[in-house]
Amino acid sequence: MTTSAVSLRGVTRKYGAVQAVAGVDLEIRAGEVVALLGPNGAGKSTTIEMLLGLARPDQGEVRVYGGSPAEAIAKGLVGVMLQSGGIIEDAKVGELLNLVAGLHKEPMPVGEALERAGIADLRDRKLKGLSGGQQQRVRFAMAIVPQPELIVLDEPTTGMDVESRRDFWASMHAETARGRTVLFATHYLEEADAYADRVVLMRNGKIVADGTAAQIKASVSGRTIRATIPGANLAALAALDGVRSVETRGDVVLLQCADSDATLRYLLASTRAHDIEVTSADLEDAVLAISAEQEALA
């Protein structure tokens, strides 16, 4: 039997009255790229903290490469990119990287880590003067310079603009192509979809779905149309091909659609619909949809 990279069994953690993590079981095999997806407050960060040994679980067991998190870290098996902080502002980028590299046994050359993170030109700059996105790249370089087996990233693209986000994931992709095991937390469904082999969906401290990105996405595909339709014929609307369900709030009609384009054409051509809005289901809807399913199954 091969050892899992990460194994959490029945892990719980309470902060005051808040049950941040309410019983999580998770196995990550070597080489997997896993997204931990969920809205804010779902328990992603706490799960990651327990996995890294920064927080102790109230119950349950955490193993990283068969040992405790502290043992895995002492062996230099884990590279981490924290969500914020974790740097010293009056240090220079190169100094910080030299330090992290120097604390590990087999680091890659610092120049190479900076290159891969796309910040070779920032080597002599102090952290203080860097933009949020640049600091995130420094954190990324710090995570990869030890050449770890497992890279853990907690919401790595928070605060980045669209372009830096794309660049960041391009660098990240190069790392995963090298066969590293990666776990990243995110609340962007697109990121999970584009970069993870496997998506673990969390809500209220529990894992509510675990599968490929395609499986998760299937449950959130479709759009919602919201329109004011005086005297709407609800039965006719519900009978339309692209419509899954119909709800009303006074004159306002909410249509859950598999094919919103066709529905929209019908509304404009055959009804007195006005003030029409089309929205795509967001992560929160996905989580709600999936957890409703899970509850129905249970």
């Binding site: 903290e49 870290i73 924290l82 974790g86 100094e95 330090l99 604390l103 030890p146």
Partner: protein, 244 residues
Amino acid sequence: MNRTYLMFDIRRTLRNKRVLLFSVLMPVVLFAIFGLTIPDGASEGGISAIAYVMVSMAMFGSMSAAMSSGGAIAAERDGGWNRTLRLTPLTPQAYVASKVILSLLLAVPPLLIVFLFGRVAGHVHLDATQWITVALVSWLGALPFAAIGLVIGYVAKPDSVQPITGLSTMLIAAFGGLWLPVDQMPSLMKHIAQLTPAYWTGQTSRSALTAAGVDTQALLVVLAWTVVLGVIALRRFRADTARA
């Protein structure tokens, strides 16, 4: 001790010229006020009074430098730096040892400059062995203060660490007899003085000037303080994983 970590800290500290300058300036000014004004030939407890003041002020300088260096970790902690370190193979022992050594290094300039100033401006005469002994024991005397600095760095917030360190330094120096000779204190104050590590470091340093030589009992008390405070700092480092 971890050399990589120590070098990282030394580089950053050397960039902060103002702190270095201030750590030297303060004891030199105090020596000028309290030492250079002493009439020639005055003595205190069998030691030349000006040498007595010189050693006390040098001790005060090295102690403040050591304490403020430890206090600097309050700012580092505020940025979540501890979490980053916890996620590397650096051990808590190596971290705390590196910080203590950094403090010891910062304790050197005030000691040397005050001694030099004492020799040149105050005409303090000691033989070579005495100079070396007094310098060495005064330097070791910075050890417990390096540890106190670390403990303060873990307890204080970045905006309160300076006043806390400043006040503690002054109280410890004053009550420990670095500013006012313990022999001149009322008996209650003498008892209080003995509860501070500054009394024992001062005692150790000044004993190097006497014919009897270094007070080994006082030196042992200094080392005991260091161990106890060092262990407290170590435990704080282990427990501290606060988010940024």
